[in-house]
Symmetry: C2
Subunit: 311 residues, 2 copies
C-alpha cells in the first residue's frame, strides 16, 4: 500500500505515527496542500518531497492519500484523489461549502474509493465508551445534550481570519461536538439556530432540535487560558429519562438507578487503523451528514436565522 | 410591621424562617393562594388562618405580603396587594403572561409599594461571589455563558401539567439561569431561540444573543436522578477574553492569568433581609426585565421561532 501525505494541518501527524508502524504501508511522498504549509521538518527526510501535490499524485500513483491541508482546501484534494481512484483519509470538514460538499460526495460515490475523515474525537476514549453506554440504555431515552469544545487560541496563522481557508469555528471545531451529539443521541438533526463572534471566530453557540423532541447545544470557544492544565476542555452532558451521563476531564460521570460513578474509560479503537483494516468506524454517509450539519449551523450564524436540516 | 403569607409553593418557608426571627415583624395571617395549597401544617398554628387571601388582606391591613401561591397566580395577588398599598415579597415569575406582566408593572409603579421577588439563586453564595468576580474583571470581557439548572422531578402536583398554573419550565426554573446570565454578563438580551419538551415540561434549551456579540445558553431539565447527591445541579460557565470562571458543585472554578483556583465562596447576603432593611439586591425594574425575558423565551419555544427582545 503506497501512501502519500498532503498538507500538515490538523491531525496529519497522528496519522503519520500510525502509518510509520504499519508494515503494509510504504510512505512514498509528502507535499504541501498550499503555500501556507511547511512540510519539511515534520516527516522523515527519506520520504520524497514534492512541491505540488498534483504532481505527486501523478508520479507516485498512491493507494492512499492522507490529506490535511489548510482546512478549506480539503474538498478540492478529495475530488482530485477520487478522480484518480486514490483512497482518502482526510481532515474534517471534508468540504468548506455546501456546493463543494455535493461535489465531494458525487466524486467519492462515483469513484468507489474508500473514504474516511479525521473525526478523531469520536474515538476519544471517554466519548467512545460514553456513547456506547448511552446506546446500551445506561440513562434511558436521551432527552437533552450539551456539548462543549474549549481550546487555547495561542498563536494561529493569519489564514484563520479567512473564511475560505479556515472554514469557520463551527465546521472546524464544532463538527466534533456535532459528531458527539449524533453518536450519543442516535437521532437526526432537524434544525439549528447559531451564532459566532470574533475575527478570527473565537466563540460559537448552536442550538439544535433533533428528532423526537430531543434538544442539543454546542458551545465553542478559543478562549481557554494559556495557563490551563490542558489544551482543550472537551465535554458532553447527556440527560436521559433514567439518568445523566457526562464526559468531563477525560472521565465518564454517570448517575442512574445504579448509583453515582466516575469511570476511567478503556482504550478506544484507532480511527485510521480501523479504516486501513476495513473496519470503518464512520461511514462516508455519516461523514457527509456531519459536514452538512456543520455547514448549515455556520449558515444559521451567518444569516442570523434558524436553518432547517433535511434528512 | 405586620406580615401575612399567601400560598405555600416555592420559597415561602425560606421567607418564613427569616421573618420568624425579625423582632420588627408580627406575623398576623396565613392564607392559601388557591385550593391547590394546604397551609395548615407549615406555619405556627398561633398565626391566624384565613381561607381567603382577599379577606385576610382586608381584615389584617398588613404592611407586607409574602406571596408564593401556585405559580401562575402570583400576578393577580401582586396587583391586589398593590391596590391596597401593601408591600410585596413574592415568588418569581411575578406574572405568568406578558399581558399580566404589564398589569403588574403598572400596579406596582402607580402604587409606590416596595416590591421584590424571590430570585433567591442570585444570592446563592458561589453565584453571588462569582458574578462579583466577573464584574470586577477576573476574566476580562465576557464573551460566552452557559448556565444550567437540573432538578429532580420526584413527585409534583398535577397542576404542573397546566400552563396557566405552572407557567412553564422556563418562567419557573429557567428564570434563575436568565438571572445569572444577566448578573454575570451585565448585558441586555437581544433575542432568544428556545425549545421545551414534555408534559409536564421536563426539558428546555434556550440560546440568547446579548449585546456586544455575547452569546448565552441555558439548559434546563427535571431529570436529575433520585439517587443524585443533591436536589439540584446549578451551574454557570462564563468565558471571558482573559479567563474562564465556572460555578459548579457550589464552588467557583477560576482560570486566568493568575492560575487555576477552586474557591469556596463566602456567605452571601440574604435577599429578604436586605429588602426589609431597604437594601434591595434586585430592583423592581430588574425583576420585570427578567420576567419579560423568561416569558419571551417561553414564547420562542411555543412558537418555534426566534423572538426579539426590545430594551
Amino acid at each position: 500500500m503506497k501512501v502519500v501525505f498532503i498538507g500538515l494541518c490538523g491531525h496529519s501527524m497522528q496519522a503519520y505515527e500510525v502509518l510509520k508502524l504499519r508494515t503494509d504501508a510504504t510512505l512514498c511522498g509528502v507535499a504541501p496542500g498550499s503555500e501556507h504549509e511547511n512540510m519539511t521538518e515534520s516527516f522523515d527526510p527519506a520520504i520524497p518531497y514534492f512541491a505540488s501535490w498534483n504532481e505527486m499524485l501523478d508520479k507516485t500513483h498512491p493507494d492512499l492519500a492522507v490529506s490535511s491541508p489548510v482546512f478549506g482546501l480539503t474538498g478540492e484534494i478529495v475530488i482530485a484523489c477520487a478522480k484518480r481512484g486514490i483512497n482518502v483519509f482526510c481532515e474534517k470538514p471534508v468540504a468548506g461549502t455546501l456546493e463543494d460538499l455535493e461535489r465531494v460526495k458525487a466524486a467519492v460515490r462515483s469513484s468507489g474509493i474508500r473514504f474516511c475523515a479525521m473525526h478523531y474525537l469520536r474515538v476519544s476514549p471517554a466519548f467512545w465508551q460514553g456513547a456506547a453506554m448511552v446506546k446500551s440504555g445506561a440513562i434511558g431515552e436521551v432527552r437533552l445534550l450539551n456539548a462543549q469544545k474549549s481550546y487555547r487560541f495561542g498563536t494561529r496563522p493569519d489564514w484563520y481570519r479567512d473564511r475560505d481557508l479556515f472554514t469557520g469555528i463551527i465546521p472546524w471545531v464544532g463538527i466534533h461536538a456535532i459528531d458527539w451529539i449524533y453518536a450519543f443521541a442516535g437521532k437526526k438533526f432537524l434544525s439549528v439556530n447559531a451564532s459566532t463572534a470574533g475575527i478570527p471566530e473565537r466563540t460559537a453557540l448552536c442550538r439544535f432540535d433533533l428528532e423526537d423532541g430531543v434538544a442539543a447545544s454546542i458551545s465553542l470557544d478559543y478562549f481557554r487560558p494559556e495557563i490551563a492544565p490542558s489544551h482543550d476542555d472537551d465535554r458532553i452532558r447527556c440527560v436521559g429519562t433514567d439518568g445523566i451521563l457526562e464526559v468531563r476531564d477525560g472521565k465518564i460521570h454517570l448517575m442512574n438507578g445504579d448509583g453515582v460513578q466516575t469511570i476511567d474509560p478503556d482504550p478506544a479503537p484507532e480511527l485510521l487503523s480501523c479504516f486501513l483494516d476495513r473496519n470503518d468506524l464512520l461511514s462516508p454517509d455519516d461523514i457527509f451528514y456531519l459536514t452538512r450539519v456543520a455547514l448549515l449551523a455556520r449558515e444559521s450564524a451567518d444569516t442570523q436565522s434558524t436553518v432547517s436540516i433535511e434528512n
